[in-house]
Subunit: 313 residues, 2 copies
């Protein structure tokens, strides 16, 4: 294991997926401190924001500034979410290393949230790919297939539809795809089934799993996805983000808990848990009054826990 | 799948492992209501208490009364914890269907908690077996190997020692053995490793996994153990129990969350989640002021969730 190839990547999405459902706008200076300290704690992939219109999500209006800051940190892959070509153009201008284009496999959710059908999103990815190539940029394009395990609006989402759209995203020019349990409906058996099929279909181009912990199964789902061969997972420090349909329920899996699980399993991530917990304390202070999640901060590390795995990364 | 053979058993241990770390003594009438309603919700294995001296655990002083009540409920396997021969004699007198004899694989933890070495507990199991046979009872004997994944006192616990003690319990006359992560140190990779070795060694006589959720990995650990072939798991309604070494941290995996996970995976347990959630509400009221856990009660069931699996059991 070398410094450049940790076995497993925990990608911090707290600044985007976490903060986007928190109304009180966190000052840019605090977000910059968050990014700087997350990087110092060993994080090498951070989603800093989303290029959506500021009037829709005032919380993320400073994404360009955060991206510019992230680019000053050595070895950091700075990613942004882009809902469309216009957002992608801003990401390319800003020099993002990765753009995540969200697609919802649920037709109903796609229309409600993105105002496009899933196939219209695929067509947009083709335009984004063309724009990237025309700009001569190396910015990676990731197609993020959300509501892959069901949807609060339409209910069931067919596996065949998820797999079709995943392939369509790659055919349209995405470099990678990820699968997301956007609403916390997945269970580990379902994750094993879908991730194994998806890996069989597209191999390592399926490179990330995104799980919400809404019903407590987030880490079990990560474990199931990891068994299928995926080694990159999204997470939010302190599990922030929540679920708009279930007040008080958890958001994404908590970064610090996920890193703890992976290190306990002997899988280095390159991240320093103590530094994450220290950062968590400050994020909790900045977000005082919001519902936070996670368990490790309260129980502390086991006596048997070794930082050896982390050090190896 | 018939009514008598649910694929997976969730054994309720809230009345013993859960309540034993809660100082305020719950009235016997409420415990009786708990057992009655848990049975009505489909629970068929309930650990009703522990035959320890009442002065040590006033909370569990009414175990004999609860056992007598449990025996009136059709199809219910009523179990009790027994720390020694004296406790086992009370369990046999009371007509328990199952006695769980706890052994701590950590030598230091064993001396601190049970005032015996692990091998002295094995010798006690031989005496318990002799007493059962002499009484002509069918009461099952389960050797529960605790601190199987590490210990807050001595730290590491060797896998070889866990496996040796497990085999020794069976050789001494236990009918079954279980493995317990008493302090929430286990991770899913470690669980896979140990449970696979244990199953290889003793087959289906390893019949139960007991996981605490102290650091959020409880359900991931259950999933890993289930993959090894074990189909019986302990759980506490509302995740009560906590950890004496980590105030506020979670106890056992929450029954309702575990049943939800298993049903989502298509594994019937015979339990009615809605009835469990209703019972949880009352238990929460009875224990007002105590820290409870679990996630499902807050997020609610997914739109896609089907009770079909439960109905099949």
């Amino acid at each position: 294991m070398t410094a450049s190839s940790p076995a497993t990547v925990v990608r911090e999405v707290g600044l985007r997926d976490g903060l986007q459902s928190i109304a009180r706008v966190l000052p840019t200076a605090q977000k910059i401190e968050w990014i700087t300290r997350a990087h110092a704690a060993g994080q090498r992939e951070i989603e800093v924001g989303s290029f959506v219109p500021a009037r829709l999500l005032p919380q993320l209006a400073d994404t360009a500034e955060l991206l510019a800051h992230a680019k000053t940190l050595p070895g950091l892959r700075a990613s942004v979410l882009v809902p469309n070509l216009k957002g992608a153009e801003r990401a390319l201008e800003g020099g993002a290393d990765l753009m995540v284009v969200p697609l919802s496999a649920s037709h109903a959710h796609s229309l409600a949230n993105l105002r496009k059908t899933p196939d219209e999103v695929v067509a947009e990815v083709a335009r984004i790919r063309a724009a990237r190539d025309a700009a001569g940029r190396k910015t990676l394009i990731e197609g993020g297939v959300g509501t892959a395990f069901g949807c609060t609006i339409q209910g069931e989402v067919a596996e065949s539809e998820v797999l079709r759209l995943m392939q369509a995203l790659l055919d349209a020019g995405a470099d990678h795809v990820s699968l997301a349990d956007t609403v916390g409906y997945a269970d580990p058996a379902g994750v094993s089934r879908l991730f194994e099929k998806a890996r069989h279909l597209v191999g390592e181009r399926l490179w990330c799993g995104h799980f919400h912990d809404t019903r407590g199964l987030g880490l079990a789902n990560v474990f199931a996805a990891w068994q299928s061969g995926v080694t990159r997972f999204d997470a939010c420090l302190a599990g922030i983000g929540g679920c708009p349909h279930a007040p008080g329920a958890s958001g994404n899996v908590a970064t610090e808990d996920l890193v703890f699980m992976l290190h306990s399993m002997g899988l280095p991530t390159g991240q320093d848990i103590e530094a994450l917990l220290a950062l968590r304390r400050d994020v909790a202070r900045w977000l005082a009054g919001e519902t936070l999640h996670g368990t490790l901060w309260q129980a502390g590390l086991p006596k048997t826990f070794r930082a050896a795995a982390a050090a190896a990364a």
